[in-house]
Each structure stands twice: as C-alpha cells, then as structure tokens.
C-alpha cells in the first residue's frame, strides 16, 4: 500500500542526495547537476501533495519550477563557461581569491 509518505520520503532522500552532492563534489558542473536533483525532489513532493489533495495546482507549480530551473541552468552554465575561460579549471577552490 503506497501512501503519500512513501513519496515524501523518496523526495527527502533525493533532496539529501542532491545536498550531499553540492557539499562534497569539487566540480562546478556536478554541483549544478546536484542542484537539479534537489529541484526534482521538490517537484516530486509537489506532485504527490497535489495528488493527495486532489488539486491540479501541484502540477502547475511543477511547471513553473521546471521553467525556473531551465533558466537557472542556462545562466549557471554560462557563468561556468566564463569561469572556465578565465582559470581553465572547474574546481570551485580555484576561484577562492578575489584577485585576477
């Protein structure tokens, strides 16, 4: 018997995995991917709640979250490209000083 709790726990696990990725990984692109995992986990819980409450609003909010995630991924990757051109490195530790 699959209840909403199963979906919420799955969403929590995915969110934690994404958070772990952001903390542990030292590669800018993998960090952005972990952020996408977190956004997807949140989408899952939105849809689960929408289903449990019998409303279509959950799906609509997911629509907006996806759009914002797309915009954020585009700009984030553009920034990564710019940073890479500067330091030839994707390790965030290479960008720890403020001087050129």
């Amino acid at each position: 018997m699959v209840t909403i709790d199963h979906y919420l726990v799955l969403s929590a696990v995915l969110f934690a995995i994404g958070t772990a990725g952001v903390f542990v990984r030292r590669n800018l692109i993998t960090i952005l991917l972990s952020i996408e995992i977190m956004l997807n986990a949140v989408n899952l819980s939105f849809v689960a709640f929408g289903r449990a409450l019998g409303s279509g609003d959950g799906q609509l909010i997911v629509f907006f979250v996806m759009t914002v995630a797309a915009a954020e991924a585009a700009v984030g990757l553009a920034i990564v490209i710019g940073l890479f051109r500067h330091r030839q490195s994707l390790n965030p530790d290479s960008f720890m000083t403020l001087k050129w």
Partner: protein, 192 residues
C-alpha cells in the same frame, strides 16, 4: 498491486542513479545517469496520475536542460576532478595548510584544497538533513492512502494556468527571455 512494485522499481532507479551522479568522476557519465534518474521520476509522475507533467519532464528536463549540460561538458572538455593520487602522479603537491594564501603559481593549478575532513562533514550534514526531513514530513498529518483523485486533464490545467496563474505565467516568460539574453551575454567571448 502492480503500481506498488512499479513505485519501488522507479524509486530504486531514481535513488541509485542520483547516488551514482554524485559519485561519478566523469561528468558525461553524471549527466547520463541524471537523465536515467529523470526517466524514473517521470514514471513516478505517471503513477501519481500526472501524465502531462511526466511528459513535460522528459521534454524539458531530459530533452533540453540535459542536452545543454552535455553540450557544455563536451565543449569545455571538462576535466575530471583531480584526486590526491592524480596529483601525486603528476608531481604536484597540495599545500600543507588548508588556510594559506594562494600565490600566483598555485592559483592556476587545479588541486583540491578541501581534503577528506570537510567532505565527510558535508556528508554528515546531508545525512542530518535527510533524518530531519524524514521526521518532519511523516508526522503531523493523517497518513493514509491516496483518495480517488480528481483527474485533472490537460485542458483543466491549461485553464487554471491562464486564469489563476496568468501573472506567474507572464512573469515566467519574461524570466526566460532575461535568462536567454543573460546567458548569451555572459558566455560570449570578449571582442579583443
């Protein structure tokens, strides 16, 4: 019965792929594994009676955003993360102190200044977050099976999108336009 096993199958695929995403060193493999995770999530959306969101997930996330990631990874020829073994093999030694100032030479070399300690601390924090979320999400409401859903057709979604959420919709389109312009501007080569 069938949908319950499907939930566990999709859930396992999603969790396993996500774990492998953050565990892979090659960023191309990470992107592909994330696509697999999105596929599993799409299956979960179908189980939650949301076929429209499921297909949109494939179209937008797996089919567009991940293509963007893959292009960037391929075009940057993204280097793998250097671990201490790689650095030792290359003859570069990581700095002894983790809070020393970088001098100009060292700043240009890729090396992991964060060692094992902070990474482990990060994992512990993430696990703490998981425990906290698990506890918070599973208490405080009447747990029960899903009721009979009011199946929201795509037409109903569209109607409420353009009436109740019309302002958010318009703002989102402006957001996308701004993001497009911004991304092109930031990623462009400076004219010399």
């Amino acid at each position: 019965m069938g949908s319950e096993t499907l939930f566990y199958v999709f859930g396992t695929i999603a969790i396993a792929s996500s774990l492998m995403v953050i565990g892979q060193r090659n960023p191309v493999y990470s992107v592909l594994l994330l696509i697999a995770s999105f596929g599993a999530l799409s299956g979960l959306y179908v189980l939650l009676d949301a076929p429209f969101v499921a297909v949109i997930q494939i179209i937008v996330y797996a089919g567009a955003i991940m293509v963007l990631f893959l292009f960037v990874v391929m075009l940057l020829n993204a280097p793998h993360e250097d671990t201490e073994e790689d650095l030792a093999r290359l003859g570069i030694e990581p700095p002894a102190s983790s809070d020393g100032q970088l001098d100009a030479n060292q700043a240009a070399i890729v090396y992991p200044r964060i060692g094992r300690g902070p990474a482990r601390f990060g994992m512990v924090l993430a696990l703490g977050l998981l425990v906290e979320l698990w506890w918070a999400l599973t208490k405080g409401h009447e747990t029960g099976a899903f009721g009979t859903a009011a199946v929201s057709s795509v037409a109903a979604l569209g109607r409420s999108l353009y009436s109740d959420y019309a302002f958010a919709f318009e703002v989102t389109s402006v957001l996308i336009l701004v993001a497009m312009v911004g991304a092109v501007l930031i990623a462009r080569r400076e004219p010399r």
